[in-house]
């Protein structure tokens, strides 16, 4: 053992092409030098080994038990989760080629109170588990949490905006997530080399003039250093020495997974992304195969077992959280392929192997497979990807050309659903979303909430005329957006300050550069309804129907008006105006940590809850009805078929919405074509065409409405039926009844 540790780091790199990556921490350069492009089709792939099938059956059985138990199988209440909090845990020690658990037993959920003790306790009690009085005392009296810090600083306006749900899902009681660690660093360099680099960085922070920035970063880098040391201890408990680089493919995947495990043991972020690991893993597999040490079946087994681990990650959440983000998502987003800065595509056999896991172990929501798409990807891969989409509806497609150009890097990944992030030196501060459809109603009602009828926004005079005057409305809407942008951005400033202070992501930051670029993410919900409502007011001559208190409760448009989703510039220009205007309003404010503003048009499943809390809108959407998800047009607005709808979404300028623009697309198999080859062709052409028109993101669901209706009635017959919902993938059976109804009623493009 001692002998091994002393071995020169270079001996682990034998067989790889050399480059700058050997002189400095530089995963991108490792990929540049060791990329094995693959232009063929899927025929080389191997099926599951017996061990894989056995383990997977065991996991499916546990998943079934978990569902029967009401959603949670078991949960800790008195062990605070940390990198080293638990001893080793296994599914089946003899069969697993990749090991490591969040706690000491599969699917057992960890106790994570740093975000907020109340939320952690509420999560336990709502699933019938006891809370621990000792823990309660520690995290209310002795140790402050992120949640308490935030609420100590929030202003009354922020609390109100939150309470009346014009802001929802703010990460003020759980981890913000969305930080993509550069996990392959562990495999390529080993922890010791990474610690050495952090120590060197530490010495370069500040010249002794102790400003807030310098103090903060010096403290953070020490936290990172300790986290790296803890990762070594965690790996040791499983019998592995990750102080050194990985010696083979199995170790490379294992090392990467240990890094990921450290992340999910310490943070319960809404999104805990895996990043971009496919080409690095491929280089290790390639090296082993060249030396005759690994067969295709063994390589596939490693990938299968790793993916199985990602499928087992769990966090315990409150019912309120679950109603926003249903189906236990953790967004273990795995970004693959894309095109390099030098024009080479990054499709490797390993990208195929990851897709093959859906075949070998059945469809599942995690990892959230994200293809960085370009029409320059090889045809064989494109067709295999669309085949997997048609079979399992588990893939999201994102525009690599658009993102690479915007971010100036080919080594970026997707955090959560649609948010690009340079992996080595970029970080996103997650910011949930603001409800612009509600803001529009505030403009009409003088800042009063249309449901609770309380003054929430600024008390400008309401619109009192029978018909809405467009100019008067736009003036008032602008003022309500000014207020919303202010309260929203400043709530987020508070959140990120406190998160850094009380819930810092040391393990993930330890696996990134020390000096980082920050993005300040915000988001918009109710987008299509706001756009169509503005169009109705502009073109449709809208009459207001008010209740006895003068609150607008219904609207009637005398004339037909253009709607977003038909590739009609009259409506689509309103969409562009709305995003730019709200972005610019937010951008006038101070942003924490010198971060750069970004926004998204993405709702995940929260479109249902947002809609529930929003009154009738001028476009005819009734009070309580779900919003359309993400940047999708309103239900029923589309009159010219799928591509017109997609081209409306594609017009939203990515420059203003670098946090992502999500479109969820549903289509019946027979609409795609009469046979499998036609269907694959149609999908490839559709995705290519969408991206060529600067469309950013596409979820593709291929199934019949009848299947979903049947699955709602007989969930036991569809245990692995997955659907893509605005940026992630979920078991249909794990959605709430309301969300299932929403998915069923969504636009399905079909032809007769």
């Amino acid at each position: 053992m001692k002998q091994l540790e002393k071995k020169d780091i270079k001996t682990y790199w034998a067989g790889f092409n050399s480059g700058a990556w050997q002189e400095e921490i530089n995963v991108r350069d490792f990929i540049q030098q060791n990329l094995h492009q693959y232009d063929g089709d899927e025929s080389f792939l191997a099926g599951p080994t017996d061990a894989t099938t056995q383990l997977n059956n065991q996991l499916l059985d546990l998943k079934k038990k978990e569902r029967e138990a009401g959603g949670v199988l078991d949960a800790d209440n008195n062990v605070v989760s940390s990198i080293t909090s638990h001893g080793p845990g296994y599914l089946n020690k003899d069969l697993e080629t990749i090991v490591g658990m969040q706690t000491d037993a599969p699917l057992k959920r960890a106790f994570m109170p740093y975000g907020g003790i109340r939320m952690a306790e509420e999560a336990l009690t709502s699933y019938g588990f006891k809370t621990d009085p000792e823990m309660h005392k520690i995290f209310t009296e002795d140790r402050k949490t992120h949640n308490q810090g935030v609420f100590d600083a929030y202003t009354p306006a922020m609390r109100k905006a939150r309470h009346y749900k014009i802001l929802t899902g703010l990460p003020d009681a759980y981890a913000r997530g969305r930080i993509i660690a550069d996990f392959p660093r562990i495999a390529i360099y080993g922890i010791d080399r990474l610690m050495k680099a952090k120590a060197a960085d530490f010495d370069l922070i500040g010249d002794g003039e102790m400003t807030d920035d310098v103090i903060r970063l010096r403290e953070q880098v020490n936290d990172q250093y300790r986290a790296l040391n803890d990762m070594k201890k965690m790996a040791q408990a499983y019998g592995f020495d990750i102080s050194r680089p990985a010696a083979n493919a199995q170790e490379a995947i294992q090392w990467i997974y240990f890094g990921y495990l450290a992340a999910v043991k310490t943070q319960n972020g809404a999104a805990m992304s895996v990043g971009r690991i496919d080409t690095v893993i491929d280089a290790y597999i390639q090296r082993d195969m060249a030396q005759g040490k690994l067969t295709e079946a063994q390589a596939q087994e490693l990938v299968d077992h790793f993916v199985m681990k990602l499928r087992m990650v769990r966090f315990i959440r409150t019912p309120e959280y679950n109603s926003l983000f249903s189906g236990d998502p953790i967004w273990a987003t795995l970004s693959m392929t894309g095109i390099g800065m030098d024009g080479r595509h990054h499709v490797t056999r390993t990208a195929f192997r990851f897709l093959k896991t859906l075949d070998n172990m059945g469809a599942a929501p995690e990892p959230n497979i994200t293809l960085l798409w370009s029409d320059r990807l090889p045809e064989g891969f494109k067709r295999y990807a669309t085949e997997v989409s048609i079979k399992s509806s588990t893939i999201q497609y994102e525009n690599d050309e658009l993102m690479r150009n915007q971010w100036g890097s080919d080594y970026y990944g997707i955090a959560c659903c649609v948010s690009a992030q340079p992996i080595a030196d970029g970080v996103q501060f997650f910011g949930a979303r603001a409800n612009l459809a509600k803001a529009l109603l505030y403009a009409i009602n003088g800042g009063k909430d249309e449901i609770k009828e309380e003054q929430v926004g600024p008390a400008y005079a309401p619109i009192t005329s029978e018909y809405i005057d467009y100019d008067e409305f736009m003036d008032k809407f602008g003022k309500q957006m000014d207020w919303l942008a202010d309260v929203y951005v400043n709530a987020l400033n508070t959140i990120h300050y406190m998160h850094d202070k009380y819930y810092y992501e040391a393990a993930q930051f330890a696996l990134k550069d020390t000096r980082l670029d920050y993005t300040f993410a915000t988001g918009i919900s109710g987008f299509s309804h706001a756009v169509d409502s503005i169009s109705a007011i502009k073109y449709g001559h809208v009459k207001v129907i008010r209740d006895e208190k003068g609150i607008a409760v219904d609207f009637k448009a005398d004339n037909d008006y253009p709607r977003y989703g038909n590739n009609d510039d009259r409506a689509d220009d309103i969409a562009k105006w709305l995003i730019k205007t709200f972005y610019n309003k937010m951008n006038t404010h101070h942003l924490y940590h010198g971060a750069k503003l970004s926004t998204s048009v993405l709702t995940i499943t929260s479109n249902v809850v947002y809609g529930k809390n929003t009154g009738t809108t001028p476009n005819g959407r009734q009070a309580g009805e779900p919003f359309s998800p993400g940047a999708n047009p309103a239900y029923g607005a589309e009159k010219n078929g799928a591509l017109a709808s997609l081209l409306s979404t594609a017009k939203i300028p990515y420059k203003y919405a670098t946090d992502g623009i999500s479109n969820t697309f549903g289509v019946t198999p027979n609409t795609l074509g009469h046979d499998d080859e036609d269907r694959k062709d149609a999908l490839v052409n559709m995705v290519d065409g969408y991206m060529e028109n600067n469309g950013m993101h596409l979820n593709i669901n291929v199934f019949n409405k009848a299947t979903l209706i049947d699955a709602q009635k007989h969930p036991e017959e569809y245990p692995t039926l997955t659907v893509r919902v605005s940026g992630y993938c979920v078991y249909f059976a794990d959605l709430t009844k309301e969300q299932q109804d929403d998915v069923i009623s969504r636009t399905f493009f079909e032809q007769m």
């Binding site: 590739n567 009159k639 062709d681 149609a682 060529e692």
Partner: protein, 262 residues
């Protein structure tokens, strides 16, 4: 209708088309992904018609070929190598001058053109026949529906005989105009082995068939009849079973026609 269009052409005014609706993502209306314009108006009254809202002639959205083409080219990026535009209906040939104008301009832009027709307006009489010949010069492929192979049954099913339709197909065969033949399989109407075998034998005599498709009858159009207050003629008839569809495919020997793959 035809007379009106004729007049327009001679005066060099833009021909106006009457459009029922647009489908921007047509993937079962010819090769590849296609922009489909459904034209308004049809004289046939097929019992299984699922678009009775397209029957009336002379109504619909008025559009010039230029305006329609301007819409269509926005979707060019989605068409890949095979896709393009399709004109369907209603019965597209009722607005033949409009389609000539459209396809002529489309071909000038290098766009693949596809005509979806049931052939009912076809005649060797002038002025139609010259116009048809001109249209064929700008048409890459046609989707031709044969509603029934038996003239008597055809008349019962659609209100019209099929003699001129088969004449059109023969003309296209003799002059090298490629086509896909489609046949709607309707239980108790077309789904009889002897008729199917007869149809299969007929198709074998046509030289320019790239593809043969059996389209199973479906009931998705029923609600339209209710909305329009029209009695639905096939009440109680269910879609054909998978077995019967396969049987029809066998009798029509659909696998033998592979020209569409080129």
């Amino acid at each position: 209708m035809l007379e009106m269009q004729e007049k327009n052409t001679t005066e060099q005014k833009p021909v106006i088309g009457y459009v029922h609706s647009i489908e921007t993502f047509g993937s079962v209306d010819g090769p590849g992904v296609r922009f489909v314009a459904f034209l308004q108006g049809c004289r046939m009254r097929c019992e299984f018609c699922h678009n009775p809202d397209t029957w009336n002639i002379g109504v619909g959205t008025e559009m010039t070929a230029d305006a329609l083409l301007e819409q269509a080219v926005k979707y060019k990026a989605f068409w890949g190598k095979k896709g393009g535009i399709t004109v369907s209906g209603g019965e597209s040939l009722l607005q033949i001058d409009f389609i000539i104008d459209l396809f002529k301009k489309a071909k000038a832009l290098g766009i693949n053109t596809c005509l979806d027709t049931c052939g009912q307006p076809f005649t060797y009489k002038e002025p139609f026949f010259s116009r048809f010949k001109e249209l064929m010069a700008y048409t890459d492929v046609s989707l031709v529906d044969i509603k029934h192979i038996n003239p008597y049954e055809h008349k019962k099913l659609t209100g019209w005989t099929n003699e001129n339709i088969l004449a059109m197909i023969q003309y296209m065969s003799d002059n090298g105009h490629h086509m896909w033949i489609r046949h709607v399989l309707v239980p108790e109407r077309t789904d009889y082995d002897d008729y199917l075998a007869q149809l299969g034998a007929y198709i074998k005599t046509i030289k320019t068939v790239d593809k043969v498709e059996v389209l199973p009858y479906h009931t998705m159009g029923v609600s339209k009849y209710e909305n329009l207050g029209i009695n639905y003629p096939l009440k109680g008839i269910e879609p054909p079973t998978q077995e019967r569809v396969q049987n029809a495919e066998k009798l029509l020997d659909t696998k033998a026609y592979t020209g569409y793959k080129n």
